[in-house]
């Protein structure tokens, strides 16, 4: 059943409200700008589709247009953070950090500066734009960088809270957002703390832990409900922070003895990779990985692509059963 302490939306299963995680960024960054005048926002010719235009309207003097130049955007942001500003630099994740990763590494990570890279339109759910624009490696790239915190919001409200929290963190942060409108699961009352996962669903004596990140957490919840119908109890955790990983991942794996990871990202190096690394050392557990299986995407609707690449509800259900079946008796 839904975990009451997560204070989730009442209509989470029946006609949930829909909004994109990037909309949450758009709201959150305006609030962050109100709270702290050091906050600045940079865009590389994508003000509206990154939702940075809300900030542009509210604080035109703190909004910087760099043109289609993601390497420049990252390094200008580094210079501004070095001075003492808190820059959010925004583009599609395929280009930032896709194109400017070395600049981020050298000028932000090595300098340990509080610049916040915001990668939009992440995952296959960006849909019709096709494989070039579907960032599926961004979390792996950013998770590999020392100093960086990596966050992937599950819905717009969490995106808003994550943006506010990132502005206050004082460290390099990567945040990932999607374009598609996806179900609103969390509410203003849902707790959010960087580095702390949220259990969204907990059955009695759970046999499997499903760790999700991003909007696919909703599919994980739907899968938990299906599993319950089949008499399988599970726990679903929303892992919004991939790095640093929450030690609670270990205890949930130990409690259940079987794990499924769910993400709209390559199964290598993202959430699945992070959890596999952690559990291999702390609590070796059978894991099934839902995500892109070492492939690129293609054009289509978000729903078509999620099903085609086997990230749908029934794929998660099957993976959960598979993981449970692999438990040592």
């Amino acid at each position: 059943m839904i975990n009451p302490t997560a204070k989730l939306a009442a209509n989470i299963f029946e006609k949930p409200d829909m909004a994109s995680t990037r909309e949450g960024f758009g709201k959150g960054v305006v609030e962050a700008g109100k709270a702290d005048e050091r906050v600045v926002v940079l865009t590389a010719d994508l003000a509206e589709s990154t939702q940075a235009h809300h900030f542009q309207k509210a604080f035109p003097e703190r909004f910087i247009q760099v043109g289609v130049a993601e390497q420049n955007m990252a390094t200008v942001a580094a210079g501004m953070a070095n001075y003492g500003k808190i820059p959010f630099f925004t583009s599609y994740a395929a280009f930032s950090p896709g194109r400017n990763w070395e600049q981020i590494r050298t000028t932000i990570a090595l300098n340990d500066l509080p610049a916040i890279a915001c990668g939009m339109h992440a995952g296959v759910s960006v849909g019709p734009d096709g494989a070039t624009h579907q960032a599926l490696e961004d979390m792996a790239m950013m998770r590999a960088l020392p100093k960086f915190t990596v966050i992937s919001a599950c819905d717009a409200e969490e995106g808003r809270k994550a943006t506010l929290a990132a502005a206050k963190l004082g460290k390099p942060v990567y945040m990932r957002f999607g374009r598609e409108k996806t179900p609103m699961m969390t509410t203003a009352e849902t707790p959010f703390e960087i580095g702390k996962l949220n259990v969204f669903w907990r059955g009695e004596k759970p046999q499997v832990a499903i760790f999700g990140t991003g909007p696919l957490v909703h599919n994980a919840l739907l899968a938990a409900r299906e599993l319950e119908k089949d008499g399988i109890s599970s726990v679903v955790a929303n892992v919004h922070t991939l790095k640093p990983p929450d030690p609670a991942i270990v205890s949930l794996a130990q409690e259940t003895g079987a794990v499924v990871t769910v993400e709209e990202h390559q199964v290598h190096g993202g959430l699945g990779g992070a959890i596999a690394e952690l559990l291999a050392k702390e609590a070796p557990t059978p894991i099934e990985f839902i995500g892109m299986q070492d492939k690129f995407g293609q054009s289509g609707t978000a729903a078509e692509l999620i099903e085609h690449y086997e990230m749908g509800v029934l794929h998660i259900v099957a993976a959960a059963k598979e993981a449970i079946g692999r438990k040592k008796i």
């Binding site: 600045v40 003097e61 703190r62 910087i64 760099v66 043109g67 130049a69 390497q71 420049n72 390094t75 200008v76 942001a77 580094a78 210079g79 501004m80 070095n82 001075y83 003492g84 500003k85 820059p87 070395e102 600049q103 050298t106 000028t107 090595l110 300098n111 340990d112």
Partner: protein, 287 residues
């Protein structure tokens, strides 16, 4: 700002001391770049002993001028100039590139106070300096931002993205200094990838360009003054320099781009004699 002959002479003496330390520290390190640092020594001596508003005893002084070094591989000249200016003991220069040293092979901001940014991978300094200058101007700060960069890194796209940005936003508090020494690792720049006409390119990007002889300290200081008076554009000081300056046996020889004394070409001076021979050449050139 008029500079007297005596002041110029004083800076030239500092430059000689900085060059000698560069030769010694690179020989001790057994790796690193020699030609570029020697070529930029006159400019770094003028920066640290005349142009920059700074305090070696308080590297974090909020009102200091900021000097970004984009081509991090010439850091020996910065380290040596900083040491002679009093940031740290000159002896510490001999720890260059060694385990535990603050003097990393490419400079790191979090290791050595006074280094404004970590650099090495080419082409990203101008944008960082531009972002810094932009942020400082937002807050009405009056210090100046300098960015030293190489000619070879003009081959990096990021450099031109930064140039476009600084031109668009009229960053008059930014002065870039290009080490136009015409060499890079694989040969002469015009063979590897022709860069000219560099002055026209920067002018086309809405920069004010001042070509100078990079070994004429008076010209450099006058160019820095002129940059302050330009009110519509960022300024590029296009400094024509001689790689290996002060050591005639290596001057203009690209093979010395990435070699220290003791490890460079031996057709003129045997490896084991290179350090002492170069120190003697430096002293003789200075007379």
């Amino acid at each position: 700002m008029v500079i007297t002959d005596a002041e110029v002479k004083n800076i030239e003496e500092k430059a000689l001391a900085i060059r000698k330390t560069i030769v010694e520290m690179l020989e001790a390190a057994k790796s690193g770049h020699l030609a570029g640092p020697l070529g930029m020594t006159d400019i770094f001596a003028a920066l640290y002993f005349h142009v920059l508003k700074h305090n070696p005893k308080d590297p974090a002084w909020a009102e200091r001028d900021r000097l970004f070094l984009s081509n991090g591989h010439i850091c020996p000249v910065r380290y040596s100039a900083m040491a002679h200016a009093g940031y740290f003991p000159v002896e510490e220069c001999m720890t260059l590139r060694k385990f535990g040293s603050r003097l990393q092979g490419h400079p790191e901001r979090d290791m050595l106070p006074g280094v404004e940014t970590t650099s090495g991978p080419l082409g990203s300094g101008l944008s960082q300096a531009s972002g810094y200058a932009y942020a400082a101007r937002m807050d009405g700060k009056t210090f100046r931002v300098f960015c030293a960069m190489s000619d070879g890194e003009q081959e990096e796209g990021n450099t031109w993205e930064g140039a476009m940005f600084a031109g668009k936003y009229r960053l008059t508090n930014l002065t870039a200094i290009m080490d136009r020494n015409n060499i890079q690792i694989d040969g002469n720049t015009e063979d590897v990838m022709p860069l000219e006409p560099l002055a026209d390119k920067y002018k086309a990007f809405n920069w004010h360009v001042i070509p100078i002889d990079g070994h004429n300290i008076q010209q450099f200081i006058e160019a820095c003054d002129e940059a302050k008076s330009i009110k519509e554009k960022p300024t590029l000081i296009l400094a024509h320099t001689t790689p290996g300056k002060g050591v005639p046996s290596i001057e203009n020889d690209y093979r010395w781009h990435g070699a220290p004394p003791g490890k460079g070409p031996t057709d003129k001076v045997p490896a084991d004699k290179q350090k002492d021979a170069f120190l003697e050449e430096l002293q003789a050139s200075a007379r």
